[in-house]
């Protein structure tokens, strides 16, 4: 069944809202001096992206479990690629 324009728009808006929440919570958890609008959905979280380190990773894991009820294990490396990658992971696990 084809999705209507409105349904697709709603879905895109929900994803935007979820990504925004995730960015805000990452900023809060790590005490970053930036704001959600300055983090792009596909920006890398490590290295030259948000420059996260392994201690930050654990902070994010704890935050995602509290905020979204999804557990990330150390073998779930794909979840840390970007905001989009992490939200894909969260949505897949909570589906």
């Amino acid at each position: 069944m084809a999705q209507t324009y409105d349904a697709i728009k709603d879905k895109a808006q929900r994803r935007f809202d979820n990504n925004w929440t995730l960015k805000s919570r990452i900023i809060d958890s790590l005490g970053l001096e930036t704001s959600p609008e300055l983090i792009s959905d596909n920006q890398p979280l490590f290295g030259r992206g948000l420059e996260m380190d392994s201690l930050d990773t654990l902070e994010i894991v704890v935050m995602v479990e509290e905020e979204f009820g999804v557990a990330i294990s150390d073998s779930d490396t794909e979840a840390f690629g970007s905001i989009n990658a992490m939200m894909d992971f969260i949505e897949a696990k909570s589906a």
């Binding site: 392994s54 201690l55 990773t57 654990l58 902070e59 894991v61 704890v62 557990a71 990330i72 294990s73 150390d74």
Partner: protein, 160 residues
């Protein structure tokens, strides 16, 4: 496995590499290996930090309260090696790692000589070599400090 374990000071000396004046735990009890535990730290005026913290106003430094919490955390994960592994080796204290982070620690009341610090630690799931932990300290049932820590456990090649 639902057994709970208690350790007196002499046993703690086998489990922790710390010694005077940095051994900040007198007793551990209600220890569920690798998961949680409770501990006691009796605070006495004879401890060396009171000479300078402060000369006319003795209060236990907050960082040493955190150190006592971290030592209880080490006992909880070392007890897993001690109680649950078939071949308990005699160098378990070499597995004690380091403090990785102190997160959102709040100090609610002063701790003075004569107080008994009642410590509680609950370990979360490991992520690689890191582990999140919820900790708190109470005196006479009143909360004096609470927060979360990130601790590391040393792996074999580092301990060598």
């Amino acid at each position: 496995m639902s057994g709970r374990f208690s350790y007196g000071a002499d046993q703690l000396l086998q489990m922790l590499p710390h010694r005077w004046p940095m051994l900040m735990l007198d007793k551990a009890y209600d220890v569920e290996p690798g998961r949680s535990g409770r501990g006691v730290k009796n605070v006495t005026i004879s401890e060396p930090h009171f000479a300078g913290h402060y000369p006319t106003h003795s209060i236990m430094p907050g960082v040493l309260i955190v150190e006592a919490m971290a030592q209880l955390v080490a006992v909880v994960y070392i007890s897993e090696h001690l109680e649950l592994s078939a071949a308990a080796d005699d160098a378990v204290s070499e597995k004690v790692g380091y403090l990785g982070a102190i997160n959102k620690m709040k100090f609610a009341a002063l701790v003075r000589p004569g107080d008994r610090l009642d410590l509680t630690a609950k370990l979360g799931e490991s992520f690689g070599s890191l582990r999140p932990v919820q900790v708190k300290a109470e005196v006479d049932g009143q909360l004096v400090a609470a927060g979360s820590l990130t601790v590391t456990e040393r792996v074999a090649e580092q301990a060598a």
